[in-house]
């Protein structure tokens, strides 16, 4: 596999958890959903459960007219109603001494992950990245099945009949978006933004991985002398010490087709 990041943005399916009888292990081994036949539907990733329901015309668009009034609020339906499975397949076959991490840049609020029958837990918190080393649980055939059971915030709260700022304020007990119980001109978000709400990716590396470099600069002599300071973490996933050549290069080319005038 090529070293680097690969986004898993296409081909996702979703289904309400209460309408799926298979377990996570079965979904990712013996009983994967074949197509977007009910209860499965095409999923929006990144996006919320509500985005998936809107895409599939299960509910009206909440931001047009009074569409939001036709969607049941999680405070009335219960959390199970907006607890959803997300499923996708990907092909990946590693070479010797390669490693792969499965990355979620944002899940609201917590999740269980199943890859080829193996379970991992993604702990709660909307604003944290999850990085899971899945090297040892990839399928040797290169065909991989991934299912993610996403749970809503722990305290979605209820919306009082009169509405109001922040609803019943329960959402503030969680580390999640707070406008979702309604705010100023914002109507309550019925699923409280539950979902895989940011990028999902695979990152393939050799034994040594670069993690979270930090760039900072210092300025002297009226900005004539400038120094770039760079710190990073290096993780060796291998069983033996790695002799590395680490290089930093700074170029002035503007990336891709982006130009500033």
């Amino acid at each position: 596999a090529e070293i680097g990041k690969r986004v898993l943005g296409d081909g996702w399916l979703a289904a309400r958890s209460t309408e799926v009888s298979a377990t996570g292990v079965e979904l990712t081994t013996t009983d994967p959903p074949a197509t977007s036949q009910p209860p499965w539907m095409e999923a929006v990733v990144p996006g919320t459960v509500l985005a998936t329901l809107v895409k599939n015309n299960v509910v009206p668009d909440p931001f047009y007219g009074l569409g939001n009034e036709a969607i049941i609020d999680i405070g009335d339906s219960g959390r199970e109603y907006y607890t959803f499975w997300f499923f996708t397949r990907f092909k990946l076959k590693l070479s010797t001494n390669q490693y792969v991490d499965l990355n979620f840049r944002g899940i609201n609020y917590s999740a269980e992950l199943y890859l080829n029958g193996h379970k991992k837990v993604l702990p709660k918190g909307m604003f944290r990245r999850h990085c899971i080393d899945v090297t040892d649980i990839l399928n040797p055939s290169g065909e991989n099945l991934l299912a993610v059971l996403v749970f809503p915030p722990d305290h979605p709260g209820k919306i009082p009949p009169e509405g109001g700022q922040g609803g019943d304020h329960e959402i503030g007990k969680d580390v999640a978006t707070q406008y979702v119980e309604g705010w100023d001109w914002v109507a309550p978000i019925r699923d409280r933004n539950t979902g895989i709400w940011d990028e999902v990716s695979l990152s393939v590396t050799g034994p040594v991985k670069v993690v979270d470099p930090h760039l900072a600069s210092t300025f002297y002599d009226n900005y004539k002398r400038v120094y770039l300071h760079t710190t990073l973490d290096l993780v060796n996933k291998g069983d033996k010490a790695a002799e590395c050549n680490l290089t930093i290069q700074v170029a002035t080319e503007v990336e891709g087709d982006v130009y500033t005038i």
Partner: protein, 229 residues
């Protein structure tokens, strides 16, 4: 002089932190907010190769050289900003998020942020009741010169106010809040558009959270020295 390589050994099954010797630049093109100059960006690339294996990992990010300072003005109570030593008259817009269904796309971020720049704005304040914006959002703020005022997820009306009074001590799990805050800072800290972190919306977070955030975000003493050579 803008290229540096280092041979080093990383022990098996371990994490090491490494700091490169600083790279020197003479009169680099500086990054400026919208309306004050160009948004000059340099491509920073980091590669690691491993003996008997070859390329092991690579990382890159556009980076802008800029110095942002701010302080509360004693006379007016307002916050004053300087970028690269020049005072900036802030013209800003409030931001919750791009889409209430969180269907974020680069195309939409680009359009939204360019629109702010076209309106002659130079700052976007991301309200604490919304989200910590995503790297793609910051990327286009880097490109179009929008300074970003990013708040953490504490708001008066679900954390401490309301009738009955709500969660006066903030979220239940302070450690989780701080873990999320640390991770968010790590994700966004290299963007030149990132100008200011704020604890919450129109209020101060619970004391332990506030103190921890202040400690996370303190400048390293290295950057306060004026005698660096």
């Amino acid at each position: 002089e803008h290229l540096y390589s280092q041979i080093l050994q990383v022990p098996a099954r371990s994490l090491v932190q490494y700091t490169f010797p600083e790279l020197f630049f003479y009169k680099p093109n500086l990054w400026w907010p919208n309306g004050m100059g160009n948004q000059s960006l340099y491509d920073v690339e980091i590669n690691v190769t491993v003996q008997d294996h070859g390329e092991s990992d690579k990382w890159s990010q556009p980076y802008g050289f800029r110095k942002i300072e701010n302080k509360i003005d004693a006379a007016t109570g307002g916050r004053l900003f300087k970028v690269n030593g020049e005072r900036v008259f802030i013209r800003g817009g409030n931001w919750i998020l791009s889409d209430g269904l969180l269907r974020f796309s680069k195309k939409r971020y680009k359009a939204d942020i360019k629109f702010h720049a076209d309106m002659n704005f130079n700052m976007i304040r991301i309200w604490a009741g919304g989200i910590a914006e995503r790297p793609d959002f910051y990327h286009y703020c880097d490109i179009y010169g929008l300074l970003v005022w990013q708040e953490f997820w504490i708001t008066g009306d679900v954390d401490g106010r309301g009738d009955p009074i709500s969660n006066p001590d903030g979220p239940l799990d302070h450690d989780l809040f701080l873990l999320c805050a640390r991770d968010t800072v790590k994700m966004l800290r290299n963007h030149p558009s990132l100008a200011l972190w704020v604890g919450g919306n129109e209020q101060v977070p619970p004391p332990d959270i506030n103190l921890a955030l202040e400690q996370f975000l303190q400048l390293h003493p290295h950057y306060l020295s004026s005698n660096y050579s």
